[in-house]
Amino acid sequence: MAVTATTPPPSTVLAAPRTPRRSGRRRGDIAIALFFLAPFLAVYGLFVVWPVLQAGRMSFYDWDLLGYTREFTGFDNYRRMLWGTSMTWDLSHLAGLRAVVLAATAALVVRSVRRRARPLSTVGTGAAGLLAAALLGVHPGPGGGWNDPGFWTSVRHTAEFTAISTPILIGLGLAMALALRGQHRGTAFYRAAFFLPYVLPVSAVTLIWSFLLNPDRGLVAGGLQRLGIEPIAWLSDPQLAMWGIIATTVWWSVGLNLVLFLAGLQDIDPSLYEAASLDGAGAWHRFRHVTVPGLRHVTVLVAVTQLIASFQIFGQVYIMTRGGPGDATRVVIQHIYEAGFRNLQLGYAAAISLVFFLLMALVSAIQFRLTAREA
């Protein structure tokens, strides 16, 4: 599962007032501190830090799962993952996506300038965005192809899944929170009902939804038949399979966002609403000028945690469609899993993991900056 930090930033968490101490405590303190910290640091070092380092190391090897080979191959794995034959660069490839990246960079730079941030960070942001937009233009030319088309397919599908499901999960969560807000009787009951799917294990959720969407037996098919529509084989149709996965995921996780938004709504100072309504503002105005700004914190939090979790999607896809039909729902984590355990290539799997980690770290870092600004 994805984990990420949130506001307030670490420095404020640790900023507790100092109290006068007798000297001579210091040495004892360090020993005591070590005692308290050792268990966590031990597991942290072993299970968080070391895997990253080891993945880095393994990625430079042709490392067979069954011990057949373990030879150093330098950047071969990266070349296989990220490169291809007859590579060219042009301006029009993925033009839409690059335009979006450029627009986002521009927005960030403008925002950075407005807040009078350090020039270095503004320039840095701008440069990074431009670089990203430029890199996206690299692609195999005619007669060539990616060395591992499955990798790029899985990246694309992961990105598509994230891009589509995140706004739905946020929007729906917010809408449901707005519908439930206030201290009415039964709020707790409704909140529990909508939150319930979140505590189910992924295999129970996939079980339910695989059958719901089943064209021969499912409730959805039955319902559609009553309307006179042919049953749709959601999970076997390459166009619709991803939507089936999205529907499953939304049902599963929106409850969490609902709870977060509800808490955020409760935190908005009611006097702001009073002030707004005294000024004659209607419901929509109050929503726009009190609720939305008040929820900005939560929204950023929800958006980023959702983003990071969506990138790491695996269970629903693997159980419901195995990445199919064909490659239509293949995602990155699945690609790593199959590279390692099916094709026995642990080195390559480690390389993909590492690239994935760097990507996630980048997203987290961006989140830190955004929310640090907010605090």
Binding site: M1, A2, V3, T6, V13, L14, A16, T19, R21, I32, F36, L37, F40, V43, Y44, F47, V48, W50, V52, Q54, A55, M58, L169, A179, R181, H184, R185, A188, A193, F195, V199, L200, P201, S203, A204, T206, I208, W209, F211, D216, R217, L256, V259, L260, D267, H297, V298, T305, Q306, I308, Q312, G315, Q316, Y337, G340, L346, S353, M360, A361, S364
Partner: protein, 302 residues
């Protein structure tokens, strides 16, 4: 898996009593009569839970009936045999036991370890504290799901595949847990500690007798949260526990969703799914407030 892990509040924040109050009469507000509102929400909740209700219906219908005809929301020929099968056939009980062992161990260890670390970061002064804390927080950026390859190697090379410790140990490294506990402890006024120190208590004593009891709400929330996450873990148990006897409920249930079982044993499959989810649902219903309190925002101080 697209379930995000949210932040956790430090400590026992009282829910703000004054939520949106009934506004002054001059406010033009769209208000539905309570009955209409309830009706709408009730319908919405029912539709939302429809999949679960359907699952119950399928679990209560015999397998052979369902081979011929799909069943709707109401069971067709009530039977408890599917539920009986869960406990008599297959390894469901064993999987259940595995999940209980692994999840309990992970929860207890995580809470203990994070509480200790949180206390150290919040209350103890030592050089490099900030740096170390930053390193811990940096760990939040590591996508746990993606790092299973080196972790797998580590456990399999030391012959620990298909062991309980392989299942719960990696879970214990939970930087977010440390963050939560640190946030909590840093809000505990120093006076508590000072008072105890004046009385001659050492830091261990202070931690055990004063800090821990104070931290009970936060620890409870962290515990429940870790419990849910660990019970629902899929990728790591899939990778490291390949023997059927060592499956958890989550991976075991997934292993049954094949082409063949789907065609012939739907009722039993659904019954297994329900039983497998039951502990979490029960836990949720009992400790709803703690769980939800645990995942509400800590950043009330904007």
């Amino acid at each position: 898996m697209a379930t995000p892990i949210p932040t956790v509040t430090a400590g026992d924040r009282p829910a703000p009593a004054a939520a949106a109050p009934a506004g002054p009469p001059t406010r033009r507000r769209i208000r539905f009569r309570p009955g209409v509102r309830h009706g709408f929400l009730l319908l919405a909740a029912f539709v939302w839970l429809l999949p679960v209700l359907w699952m119950v219906s399928m679990a209560l219908t015999p397998n052979d009936v369902q081979q011929r005809e799909p069943v709707g929301l109401l069971p067709d020929g009530l039977t408890w045999s599917n539920f009986a099968d869960v406990f008599q056939l297959g390894l469901m009980l064993r999987w259940f036991g595995n999940s209980v062992v692994v999840t309990t161990a992970a929860t207890v260890l995580t809470v203990a370890v994070c509480a200790m670390a949180g206390y150290a970061f919040a209350k103890l002064r030592f050089t490099g504290r900030r740096l170390l804390f930053a390193v811990v927080i940096a760990g939040l950026m590591v996508p746990r799901e993606a790092m299973f390859v080196p972790l797998f190697l580590m456990f399999s090379d030391t012959g620990q595949q298909n062991t309980y410790q392989a299942l719960f140990l990696p879970r214990v490294a939970f930087p977010l847990g440390v963050f939560i506990m640190t946030q909590f402890f840093s809000r505990v006024p120093d006076e508590y500690e000072e008072a105890a120190r004046v009385d001659g208590a050492g830091p261990l004593r202070v931690f055990w007798s004063i800090m821990l009891p104070l931290a009970r709400p936060a620890m409870a929330s962290l515990a429940i949260f870790t419990f849910v996450l660990t019970w629902n873990d899929y990728l790591w148990p899939l990778v490291i526990a390949t023997e059927q006897e060592m499956f958890t409920v989550t991976t075991g249930l997934a292993s049954l969703q094949s082409n063949f079982a789907a065609a012939t044993e739907i009722g039993s499959l659904m019954a297994r799914g329900l039983i497998g989810s039951l502990p979490l649902v029960v836990l949720f219903l009992l400790f709803q407030r703690q769980l939800i309190r645990g995942i509400t925002l800590g950043s009330g101080e904007k």
